[in-house]
Subunit: 567 residues, 2 copies
Amino acid sequence: MPESQLSIFLIQLLILLGMARTIGELFKRYGQPPVVGEILVGIILGPTILGRLSPSLYQNLFPPDPIQINMLNTLAWLGVLLLLLATGLEVDVSTAWRERGPALRIATIGVFFPLIVGFFFALSLPDHLLGRTDRIIFSLFLGTAIAISAIPIISRLLYDLNLLKTDLGLLILSAYAVNDLLGWIIFTVILGMATTGRFNPILILTILSATIVVAGLALTIGRRSIDRIISRLRLPGITLTFIFCLGLLMGALTQVIGIHAIFGFFLAGIMAGGARDLSERTRQVINQMVYAILVPIFFASIGLRVDFIKNFDPLLTFSITAIAILGKLFGAWLGAGGSDLSKEDRYALAIAHTPGGAMEVVIAVVALQFGLITHPIFVAIVFAAISSSLLVGPWFSWSIAQRKVINVLDFFLPRATIDDLKSGDRKGAIAEIAQAVGELERLPDSEAIFQAVWMREELMGTGLEKGVAVPHARIANLDRPVFTLARSTTGIDWDCRDGSPARIIFLLLTPKREEGAQVQILATLARIMSQKENQRRLIEAGDKEELIKVFTDILRSEGRMVRCAGS
Amino acid sequence: MPESQLSIFLIQLLILLGMARTIGELFKRYGQPPVVGEILVGIILGPTILGRLSPSLYQNLFPPDPIQINMLNTLAWLGVLLLLLATGLEVDVSTAWRERGPALRIATIGVFFPLIVGFFFALSLPDHLLGRTDRIIFSLFLGTAIAISAIPIISRLLYDLNLLKTDLGLLILSAYAVNDLLGWIIFTVILGMATTGRFNPILILTILSATIVVAGLALTIGRRSIDRIISRLRLPGITLTFIFCLGLLMGALTQVIGIHAIFGFFLAGIMAGGARDLSERTRQVINQMVYAILVPIFFASIGLRVDFIKNFDPLLTFSITAIAILGKLFGAWLGAGGSDLSKEDRYALAIAHTPGGAMEVVIAVVALQFGLITHPIFVAIVFAAISSSLLVGPWFSWSIAQRKVINVLDFFLPRATIDDLKSGDRKGAIAEIAQAVGELERLPDSEAIFQAVWMREELMGTGLEKGVAVPHARIANLDRPVFTLARSTTGIDWDCRDGSPARIIFLLLTPKREEGAQVQILATLARIMSQKENQRRLIEAGDKEELIKVFTDILRSEGRMVRCAGS
């Protein structure tokens, strides 16, 4: 490697990474997804802006020498492969599997509805917009590209709005896990077809079965074996190497049987992510390495490939953006039809499915590489991904803020308050609170309450951060939402992400048809408890009387702001 | 990037990384440096072994296509640059600066002695062994290559032998820090000369002054500014990006002014490593990323470049190995001449300087890239680096085990034992113990003891892991080594690496001329205390009488094994 190429490579990395991370963090600070800022940096440094303003500087910074281009490409590819690995680590297949009824329906209809709309739209496009590929393959691809959604954006949004632990949040994330898996399987099959260049039913069947067999084996036997192996690896450095090698192995394997390596890395991430003994620390090392260094380089390098002004077709871009957003919105809304979601929650869930985000961009980049799409289509898809990601935050918050104002204090059951839980574990504590609630008149019996709450708890723990837990359930025969407060002086291990034991526990029961009250009450309680001062007052309150008084005071001053925290 | 290249790249990475880490960890388990195992994997997979056994498999796995080679090269380069960054992070310039008297002398003579010997040896080599370069530049390079030593191997060895916190350990690590810095400056200057191809005094002066100015600015103003910036960065992900970008910046800067990027990354590491607010966690993320993934790929890829059998010249290899080991041994031994080290410690220090390890290999790889050396010289240097790294462990342990057997119990002062320290901080605790020791007859007064121990403590903390601390000092007018035991029931923050508070504290005083007794006593105490059972017994002992009795019992059964733990 000549010295001059090394110098240019280092300068390219410095500028791309430095700018992408700075702009990305600025976007994050203002509640926007960093990926949008990272893509913008590439557009600024690429042919679109810098290439126009100062062609010589642009040529010097990104010389069109194949070895030089290959160096940056190698790193960008590694970035996107590891992005899929890290995404897979967050996909919780077991929870999605336990929630499979509604999540599966939402994800399936949520993927296929926009796919079909996009497919027929693409069939009607003029010839010159097509790539070198067959029109049916192209149309299938365009449908898939607009059908896929972006987990990181929505999970961050749910976290910011204190909705991560609600039934709505759980359902959105479970549906998303299936959506991702389904979207990638379909995309993989289309890519396989594209390598032969023509639409061929037998080939489709072969690739589809290979994909399903690989995915099926990986998610069953594979996941269990990886779980066992990781539990035997003692040192964090070895676990890291192992996960990286697992990605390489699955990537090479999928690549060899005609599926893209990207899908292999995604599967490897899901396999490793399910391991019980994978420490939080190893996850952090992977996430920091991927999101602080490699992924920004990948997203910033996208803009270097394409001129976003020359290839901007306003009508095409507008149509694809509209179809992508509305297609996913209606798809998810239709899919949520049979569930017992309230009207408000069903609408919020549909909005949550609209952002295309990083995944849509990744798919477009791969498709461009394969010659599946032309530059104008690429620009339109990237634009759709960016604009839908920017839109979802305000839109989702607004939909929550539209709900009718309720006063959380109205649903508080002071008589069931427990100022010092006897039980030291989660199950016992829930039984104890259920006992206290069930003894009150006009409420279902304790056993029914305990069963419902514990079932929900097993699906996905309800521990928030900083020692607060919000166990909850929907109960038949309940006429209105009710909740109570319990305190544990010793603290109970509630499997909170920050490792803190739960000291303040709210148990919330809502009727089967609750018109979105659960989301409002839980978000309000989470928001109130995120203030240290309120937590301190509750923990320091003396006896039961004082505890109830302090809590009622807090609710009186803050519990009326039931519109969501983010609004 | 065509699909087939991506597949081959993934398979290359999988095989190189998987094998290198497996063999590397095996080496580590048997007390040998993993880098040796990693290099061996490359030799096995490269032209040397696989290329001979199955040329077609070798050709398929590592096809001679320039783009394909460049992909692996890009990652290997990133690996070596980040290896230097991570090495710089561990170089503690402040301690080395405070210890500058003896450390500077040992490092300077320790570098220049083997450099001069190597230089004259190289001058006598036959013409065909030279590269395309000038003989003087070649000879200077060979001298530098065999003068540099390997920090990771020796710091690991000191740790394994419980010697990290002795004066000997401190001196070795400080001298090494200067040795590395000096070696890299000299190497950088030679590389600069090599780019013009001829020996030119004016050019040397220019590059030398540029190198010294850059290094000087980086280690003074640069280090202070980085310290301030890192203390303002709140999120770990941002700190990681910042350190990576700092490496890129310094790498590009040094590259542009004609010094190699490798030196820039090394400087960046030293600058960031000195920041007080750089968290242990961020260090771990960098270390895991570098040592678990990138560095093994770099070392394993070395063997892919060169045929180690065809280019093996036994006489040349033997001579370079002998000169490298003996040159460094005598250089460090001469450098330690004026210090108050005992004969035994001086010999151990000299042995500790012999391994070439990773740094010697890195220098050889860069020199080969620049055409500074031929393949036979490269093979000889790599062989010297490997064999000296394998040799140092047994040799160093043996030199410690040769010392005359002493019984640690003979030096214990039971009357100065404190069973419950009143003080809650380090300084107070040392003063309290010094007070108790100073009151005994025939010992120097408390104030003198306190001053000496505290000065040593400020140089570099003496906290071991798991709640044990070993403050110590050399005292004039002392006729024999003495030590005492103090216990803190609440625990004292002793800045231990694992964050645990110190509960068991040994204060050791040795005469100015102590014939290596400090090393023996501290190593024995550290070894005894590394057993949980012994710690538990000391912490649970009731009053002072019982504490002394328990400790004396432990010493009686284990304190006689004063030969070092590793032997």
